[in-house]
């Protein structure tokens, strides 16, 4: 064939590298322009947090009683004081570490069981038909309602708390994995088949990566519910853990520690969902904008 016909039709790639690198000043200015919206959000976020702290400070300093009673609520400074004391207290650190360990085991077990189960249920109709009804019956039962049953089921307190945490995160992960599987574009499956892919490869190369965004939604939601369940379980049956710490502070009339425990739970929950989001970005580089 005449090569000219090919040459004239082949389009030239549209990328041309810039001749000279722009100066630092222009780069900084461009960066600012591109990120203006984000910077604005950060600035407003800082201001709003500061306003919240100030309001809290005023409400507690003046012991406001207006429907809600701030008489016994600790002030931010009191909480900060108990925070500085707590970080040097090995007992407080142990509470935090134990809660983290329970989350780690409960949540990891849930992910290890729920993700493959959801993938298999999404792929094989019979498995779905067998397991789905049972899952639907158990799903609406809140993890906290399992506490008495868990204590009966497991020989140690520690195991039953991990079990509660497991249950809390299990169903969000399962449901979202199933949802992801149901949304896999059938055209992609056909494309893979046309390229010689067999069942196993299609599962690994198409169904699994296609479901990943929903799996990570499930993991994020599951992590949130894991903390909810853990704290409840610790408050009811625990001897250690940050939930127990918070409840104990109430019993011992150490009001600053109540707020400290609450804030610690919030920070730990935020940190763990950030970890999951980070893992999601590592695993799904194609989703980065």
């Amino acid at each position: 064939m005449p090569a000219t016909a090919i040459a004239e039709a082949d389009p030239v790639p549209a990328v041309t590298p810039p001749a000279t690198p722009p100066s630092f000043g222009t780069l900084a200015l461009r960066w600012y322009r591109l990120n203006r919206a984000g910077l604005r959000a950060i600035a407003i976020g800082i201001i709003s947090l500061a306003a919240f702290l100030l309001l809290w400070h005023l409400l507690t300093t003046y012991r406001v009683v207006f429907f809600v009673r701030f008489t016994n609520v600790p002030s931010p400074l009191a909480v900060y004081a108990s925070f500085t004391k707590a970080i040097h207290d090995p007992k407080f650190l142990m509470h935090v570490l134990l809660s983290c360990r329970r989350i780690f085991f409960g949540f990891s077990l849930a992910a290890i069981v729920a993700v493959p189960l959801g993938l298999i249920m999404g792929r094989f109709k019979l498995v779905h038909e067998i397991i789905f009804p049972v899952a639907e019956v158990l799903r609406p039962i809140p993890a906290i309602a399992w506490v008495p049953m868990a204590i009966m089921l497991w020989p140690t307190n520690e195991q039953s708390i991990v079990f509660i945490t497991f249950l809390g995160s299990f169903f969000p992960i399962l449901v979202n994995t199933l949802h992801g599987m149901s949304l896999v574009d059938p055209v992609l499956v056909r494309a893979a088949q046309c390229l010689g892919a067999r069942e196993r490869s299609i599962f690994r190369e198409v169904y699994f990566p296609a479901s990943l965004p929903h799996i990570f939604t499930g993991l994020t939601v599951g992590m949130g519910v894991a903390w909810v369940s853990l704290i409840a379980a610790e408050m009811i049956s625990g001897q250690y853990g940050i939930g127990y710490f918070t409840w104990e502070a109430y019993s011992l009339v150490q009001y600053a520690d109540i707020a400290l425990g609450m804030i610690a739970i919030g920070v730990l929950g935020l940190g763990s969902s950030m970890l999951i989001r980070g893992a999601g970005q590592l695993v799904m580089p194609w989703r980065l904008k």
């Binding site: 494309a191 046309c194 194609w286």
Partner: protein
């Protein structure tokens, strides 16, 4: 690479006594009936027809996704029993794997075949180079334009060296200018690779410009209404689309399809659009006049 470029003539598609129906609550529905088509090795054949006539159904049966109700589909004498890498397919919706880079998409078929990584990387790079896409090998499909995505789709389908290439309205989602360029690229690749092509489209110009032969299908249930050889010389240039020969072919195909489209729309439309209304508005609104 070389085994893709120099291939003994093969890729004879033969569809015989083909019909396909599916079940519905009102009983079986005939999608395609009594159809014979064939594509000779290295030939470029298009199927055109009104929408819903079953041309994609026919193509999907050749690909192996659908089983014929009666009749048989063979490629080089072998019965088609399911999808295989021997029959490459390009879809209208691009269908690139979003989680794979451009190069990984192109490598996919070779990976399924068990080719070692370094070897398939090299093969994919060469192919992408031929399509002018080497600068984009590390991009994810999301970042590409429609035309580039479909170039990757074609290269991916060709990478395993299939006997035939099946295309299901591949340029339907592209704008007019891009479509013309893509048609050129496809003809050039086809001429280099000497591969048999079965191309489904509803665009008559596209079918004539690309094909050696065009099958025109009837409205549902689809069957072959006419088979039109396209004797235009190759290589084909855009300017040919203005030639009297091209326009005559176009006129012929147009009227064939028009008949079928009207049938497909209900069969009773005697006149198209407002001509039957015969009202002169003279600046009044239609509601005022009626």
């Amino acid at each position: 690479m070389n085994d893709i470029l120099t291939k003994a003539p093969q890729g004879h598609i033969d569809v015989r006594n083909f019909s396909l129906s599916y079940d519905s609550i009102e009983g079986p529905v005939q999608a395609v009936t009594d159809t014979q088509i064939h594509v000779k090795p290295g030939e470029f054949v298009s199927i055109v027809g009104p929408s819903g006539c079953g041309k994609s159904t026919l193509l999907n049966a050749v690909a192996g996704f659908l089983k014929p109700t009666t009749g048989v589909v063979t490629v080089d004498g072998e019965k088609v029993n399911g999808p295989s890498a021997e029959r490459g397919m390009v879809f209208q919706q691009y269908s690139l794997f979003p989680w794979k880079t451009v190069r990984e998409n192109v490598e996919f078929g070779l990976k399924m075949r068990g080719m070692p990584r370094s070897q398939r990387e090299r093969a994919a790079r060469t192919l992408l180079g031929l399509a002018g896409l080497e600068a984009f090998e590390k991009h994810y499909p999301d970042k590409l334009s429609g035309g580039m995505k479909q170039r990757v789709g074609i290269v991916r389908a060709l990478a395993t060296g299939p006997k035939v290439l099946l295309l299901d309205e591949p340029f339907g989602a592209l704008d007019a200018q891009t479509r013309v360029i893509m048609q050129q690229i496809l003809t050039n690749m086809w001429q280099r690779l000497k591969i048999s092509v079965l191309f489904v489209t509803h665009d008559i110009d596209e079918a004539i410009f690309l094909s050696d032969r065009v099958y025109c299908m009837t409205a549902r249930p689809g069957s072959i209404k006419a088979e039109i050889p396209i004797p235009l010389e190759r290589p084909r240039q855009q300017a040919m689309m203005m030639s009297s020969e091209f326009l005559a072919l176009r006129r012929g195909l147009m009227s064939l399809i028009r008949e079928e489209s009207i049938k497909a729309m209900g069969g009773e439309i005697s006149d198209l659009g407002m001509q039957g209304l015969n009202i002169e508005l003279h600046g009044h609104s239609l509601a005022d006049v009626i």
